[in-house]
């Protein structure tokens, strides 16, 4: 299998996995889903690092470094904010569940 075709196969299979996994996400968590997915595309950071590392002139290097900064903001910020949100969804013991648990 040629390299291009292998990459295409990975892409197509990922589409199916993506739809399968995401359609099972609880409606309650759609905002964390979006910010979490956002954080995941921050992985473009490794692309940015790769091109920055091998830049051969200053134009390439400066563009690539800007990309590294942007991608880092995207990735780190995304995971941190998602964690902050999900922490709030943790089922910690509450007064409400003690007083009126029947449902």
């Amino acid at each position: 299998m040629s390299n291009g075709l292998a990459l295409l196969s990975i892409f197509v299979l990922s589409v199916f996995i993506g739809f399968e996994v995401v359609s099972k996400v609880s409606t309650t968590l759609h905002t964390p889903l979006m910010s979490g997915a956002n954080a995941i595309h921050g992985i473009i950071l490794i692309g940015a690092i790769t091109v920055a590392d091998r830049a051969v002139n200053n134009v390439q290097l400066s563009l690539a470094i800007v990309a590294v900064v942007l991608a880092t903001i995207n990735m780190v910020g995304g995971f941190v904010v998602t964690d902050r949100m999900l922490e709030m969804f943790k089922g910690k013991p509450r007064k409400a569940s003690q007083t009126g648990g029947e449902k």
Partner: protein, 469 residues
């Protein structure tokens, strides 16, 4: 590092991203999933510094690249210093802005990565590479510019109303043609000027494309731009021959697509209608505006009595609740009612808030147990058995006009069917119509009581009245 080992670790990281999304199937496993994803991303960032030489040098790119490790580490540090405090300090009501911004910078980064790779390859680039580059630059720039405009709208730095000007749709169409033409030019000539022109036109298109979208439709735009950025990352993964980028980008693309479709359905509109609706919408006749019709307004004590003798109460929160910062007060009231043996649930409309699922986050912040948050399809059949519905800072999502008035802007939008309940209480600041600017007949219904005032003030008074009963 050995190539096979490197690729194997890449596969593990891709799996960690799938697990991160899979964890979101339930609030219980969600946080762990996100941490797995974060660990994977961190591992990937460390790993890329130990990449085997041939990675990232597709085609016959020169092998004489210099190493800039220190500079890169400084750039990463700078990104962390900017990103982490922003993510920590942001208020939950402002979450859509932050997501839009992160989305934009991600799209911008992906476009830049492809541009640099293209500059490096020069004439050695193969046609599939150039096509993938063109795709990345166009979609990345549109995503970047569109997200920035969305951010400005949500942050209310610029107007949230649709911005429409004469000839706007011709300008958009013209820009799109320009983008496509310059894309063909890039593929044909493989020059740098053509790439620059294409990038600039794409940025312009991104701005023009979001300007006419009104504030209420922003959830759709955010989801769509999220999908765009995902696909951009996937395409740059193709250019760089990086499997991990392809998998990660595609996952995000899928999630954005699903959410976009969900949001469009929840508004009862086609995606096209949302994005380009502002151009075709006729100005609404403000006919009913002048006449003053009698409404029944009540005091906090009246509301407290209605609630106290109910058996089942459903609270319908809207963005007005979040604006008034009344989440905590509403939870306090719900706890009080629950302690009196009253069944309390929250009816959540999918577009309540400014992004998909936003209201759930806002209520979770106020410690509302997520079991009490009930989706529209589940709560609607229960309204006939509900004694009191308390609508806090919402309007359009309960407006029967969506069912009864063909031709009104929200016609066809699924609504919470609160008119089936015994009593409806609206907490409103004034008689002003909601975001969509449509009169709500339900306000004049004999079983409706209105409690005017700031949502938080009103609820505080209701709570103290309830305590005295």
């Amino acid at each position: 590092m050995n190539r096979n080992l490197y690729d194997l670790l890449g596969l593990c990281i891709a799996v960690s991203f799938i697990l991160a999304l899979k964890g979101l199937a339930s609030p219980k496993s969600a946080r762990r999933g996100n941490l797995i994803g974060a660990a994977g991303a961190t591992a990937a960032t460390v790993l890329v510094f130990f990449a085997p030489q041939e990675i990232g040098q597709s085609g016959t790119a020169t092998a004489s690249g210099h190493h800039h490790t220190l500079l890169i580490l400084l750039a990463i540090l700078f990104g962390v210093v900017v990103g982490v405090p922003a993510a920590r300090k942001i208020q939950m009501t402002q979450m859509p802005q932050l997501v839009a911004l992160f989305n934009g910078v991600g799209g911008g980064a992906a476009a830049l990565v492809s541009i640099v790779e293209y500059l490096k390859l020069g004439s050695a680039a193969s046609t599939p590479d150039v096509v993938a580059t063109v795709f990345t630059v166009i979609v990345g720039c549109v995503s970047f510019a569109g997200s920035v405009v969305t951010f400005l709208k949500l942050q209310e730095i610029m107007t949230t109303r649709p911005v429409v000007f004469a000839g706007g749709r011709f300008l958009i169409a013209g820009t799109l043609v320009g983008v496509l033409a310059s894309a063909a030019w890039v593929i044909h000539s493989m020059g740098n000027t053509s790439l620059l022109v294409m990038g600039l036109l794409s940025l312009l298109f991104g701005v023009l494309f979001v300007l006419p979208v009104g504030g209420a439709d922003v959830p759709i735009v955010i989801s769509l731009l999220n999908a765009f950025t995902g696909l951009t990352v996937a395409a740059s993964g193709y250019v760089l021959q990086a499997t991990l980028l392809i998998v990660a980008g595609t996952l995000v693309g899928a999630s954005g697509t699903i959410l976009t479709r969900l949001m469009a359905t929840a508004m009862g509109r086609s995606l096209f209608g949302t994005l380009f609706g502002a151009f075709t919408a006729k100005p609404q006749a403000a006919a009913a505006a002048g006449e003053a019709r009698p409404v029944k307004s009540g005091s906090p004590d009246d509301v407290a009595i209605l609630l106290n003798y109910a058996q089942r109460v459903v609270i319908v929160p809207g963005f007005g609740l979040a604006v008034a910062q009344a989440q905590h007060t509403v939870r306090e009231m719900a706890d009080l009612l629950t302690s009196k043996g009253i069944d309390v649930a929250y009816g959540i409309h999918p577009v309540a808030g400014r992004m998909p699922g936003h209201m759930n986050v806002l209520l979770a912040e106020a410690n509302v147990p997520y079991e009490q948050l009930v989706e529209m399809d589940e709560i609607n059949p229960t309204f006939p058995q509900t004694d009191v519905v308390l609508v806090v800072g919402a309007n359009d999502v309960v407006n029967p006009a969506a069912r009864t008035t063909p031709g009104c802007p929200i016609f066809g939008m699924p609504i919470l069917d609160v008119s089936q309940a015994g009593n409806v209480i609206f907490l409103k600041r004034s008689m002003r119509p909601g975001f969509a600017g449509i009169e709500n007949e339900l306000l004049y219904d004999p079983k409706t009581t209105l409690l005017f005032g700031d949502a938080k003030d009103s609820l505080t008074k209701v709570v103290s009245a309830l305590k005295n009963l």
